[in-house]
């Protein structure tokens, strides 16, 4: 069964003047069809203003469709009685960790979600321990979040979501404000949550390298889904991606450049260093 499903999803940002009359309508999502299965790792790519974040906010019931519907675990987001259970099932992680952390001590921050859900005290502490350990932040449980690095803060924010035992986590550019080491830690954490805990991950990002491990990639432009496929399929289409303000991982770009300049044996859509090196050794190494 799909954990997240959208059908004919459209959304208009409506702006009103001082008298409350509609002054402009801006269509941010147009007829989006999306089905994410339980346990999948999905990536959504797209240029600035392509509608990625608007889509994410629909899955978490922060925004509601103008047309069509969004279902999370079989429940419509537009029906008010579903909102609490949807927000617990589909947790959200945002770009700026500083805007998501409210506790003055790491473990209190992580305990906030389950406490709000009405989990009894013993259960809260069990969840805090389990989620901080999963994110590799257990040793920092007594620290002040403000003293942590960006990547550590973001992992605390993710632990706070994990403690609510979600089925699905939507990450909206979780690494945009982090340095390379912090980015690696957060992506590794996302992959581990998917692999080990079987939590469905929907990752929105501008960094092509971060999506090579996704099961499927969706590419958005002007509120619509323009491309769908595995990372290998998507990254074989460099020119189309560039038209959509995107690119491919650096390794893929090097492989494509070599192929263009005559090394025809290199396959399309190379994703990792290992693949490129093996392909070069196989076809072009003369001993």
């Amino acid at each position: 069964m799909s954990i997240v499903e959208t059908h004919n999803l459209s959304f208009d940002y409506i702006r009103r003047d001082e008298e409350g009359n509609v002054s402009s309508i801006n269509r941010a999502l147009n007829d989006v069809e999306l089905a994410v299965e339980k346990g999948e790792f999905i990536a959504i790519l797209g240029g600035n203003g392509s509608g990625k974040s608007t889509l994410a906010k629909h899955i978490n019931a922060i925004l509601y469709p103008t047309e069509g519907y969004v279902m999370v675990d079989g429940k419509k987001t537009s029906e008010e009685e579903n909102i609490l259970s949807i927000r617990q099932k589909a947790g959200m992680v945002f770009q700026n960790p500083d805007n998501q952390i409210i506790g003055s001590i790491v473990e209190e921050d992580v305990g906030f979600g389950p406490e709000n859900m009405g989990v009894e005290t013993k259960g809260i502490w069990e969840r805090v321990e389990e989620s901080l350990k999963t994110l590799g932040m257990w040793e920092y449980r007594k620290h002040s979040p403000m003293r942590l690095s960006g990547g550590q803060k973001q992992r605390v924010a993710i632990a706070g979501v994990v403690a609510m035992h979600p089925e699905c986590i939507i990450m909206d550019e979780p690494t945009a404000m982090l340095d390379p080491a912090g980015r690696k830690d957060v992506i590794r954490a996302a992959r581990a949550l998917n692999d080990v805990e079987h939590i469905t991950i929907i990752l929105i990002t501008h960094y092509m390298e971060e999506v090579i491990y996704a099961n499927r990639v969706f590419v958005m432009e002007k509120g619509e889904i323009r491309m769908t496929g595995t990372p290998r399929e998507i990254f074989s289409r460099l020119e189309e991606l560039e038209e959509l303000r995107l690119t491919v991982p650096q390794t893929t770009k090097l492989a494509a450049e070599l192929k263009k300049r005559g090394l025809k044996e290199i396959p399309d859509g190379i994703l990792t260093d290992e693949e490129l090196i093996q392909s070069l050794c196989r076809s072009y190494l003369t001993m």
């Binding site: 600035n48 340095d179 303000r245 070599l258 300049r261 090196i277």
Partner: protein, 283 residues
């Protein structure tokens, strides 16, 4: 024209239990016309350092010389320095506030005391330099896309005609095309107008592609100082402080080990491709 930092120290919250040495005996030179990449992980002191360059922060000890003049001299004109060294902060679009784009860009030069006419001329030039389409000059900055807003913020600094442009992660949050546009623009300002650039970046690939000179910061100290090729030939040293060489450099090293006669100092996709093609054709 150059900037020289001479044994600069900076201590936050001096005399309290929270005392932090953010800059620790920093000495290096930014020559005239340099394109400097400043790298280091979060908290290494990069942002503190750049705020010293236009006098926003004052060193706890040590000296900074701008064009040979000590900026901490009692009669040094600090206000003029702020016009010469343009600082573009992270997410600069958060600082846009005027009702239209043109007025926003006029704010800086007007504040420097330029006449109305010169102010408008400078603003117009700056908006042209950042390639903002004319029809957007009189719209509210809040109606622009992320990349456009960032270019307006950059124009606001350029309108003050700085000799040195300091940019703190100017591509954060932009899509790949937006990143290329901004970096291409910065390169053009450097190449065509001779503006000295200080680029603070987390992207080794970008620094490898654009910078002529790199300073690596760690724990408030200058950890390394050299050309991109020198710096990135020490990949394992960079890894000890949470940084790395560009991705292609690692590929080249592995190819060399596998038996290809390739250049392991390649740091950009183009250099790597050239070298691999040469190695294959020679064999």
């Amino acid at each position: 024209m150059s900037i020289i930092l001479d044994h600069v120290n900076y201590i936050y919250s001096k005399g309290t239990s929270d005392e932090v040495k953010a800059l620790d005996d920093v000495s290096f030179e930014i020559p005239d016309g340099d394109f400097l990449g400043l790298i280091g992980h979060t908290g290494s002191g990069k942002s503190t350092l750049v705020q010293h360059l236009d006098g926003l922060l004052k060193a706890s000890s040590g000296s900074i010389y701008f064009n040979g003049e000590d900026i901490y001299d009692r009669d040094y004109d600090m206000k003029a320095l702020r016009g010469k060294v343009g600082l573009v902060f992270q997410y600069p679009e958060h600082q846009l506030f005027e009702e239209d784009v043109f007025k926003d860009v006029c704010f800086g030069p007007k504040n420097l005391g330029l006449s109305q006419k010169d102010t408008e001329l400078a603003a117009y030039r700056a908006l042209k330099d950042v390639k903002l389409p004319d029809e957007l000059f009189y719209v509210s900055p809040f109606e622009l896309s992320g990349g456009q807003k960032r270019r307006v913020a950059l124009a606001g600094v350029l309108a003050m005609k700085p000799e040195v442009l300091v940019l703190d992660e100017p591509t954060a949050g932009l899509d790949p095309e937006g990143r290329n546009e901004i970096l291409g623009l910065i390169k053009e300002l450097h190449d065509k107008q001779g503006i000295t650039i200080v680029l603070v970046s987390h992207s080794m690939d970008d620094v490898a592609e654009y910078a002529d000179h790199i300073v690596v910061m760690d724990k408030g100290k200058v950890f390394m100082n050299g050309t991109p090729k020198e710096i990135f030939s020490h990949a394992s040293k960079l890894e000890t402080i949470g940084l790395s060489a560009p991705g292609v450099t690692y590929i080249m090293r592995r190819l060399k080990r596998a038996g290809f006669d390739v250049d392991t100092t390649a740091i950009t996709v183009k250099e790597a491709a050239d070298s691999i093609i040469r190695a294959v054709n020679h064999a």
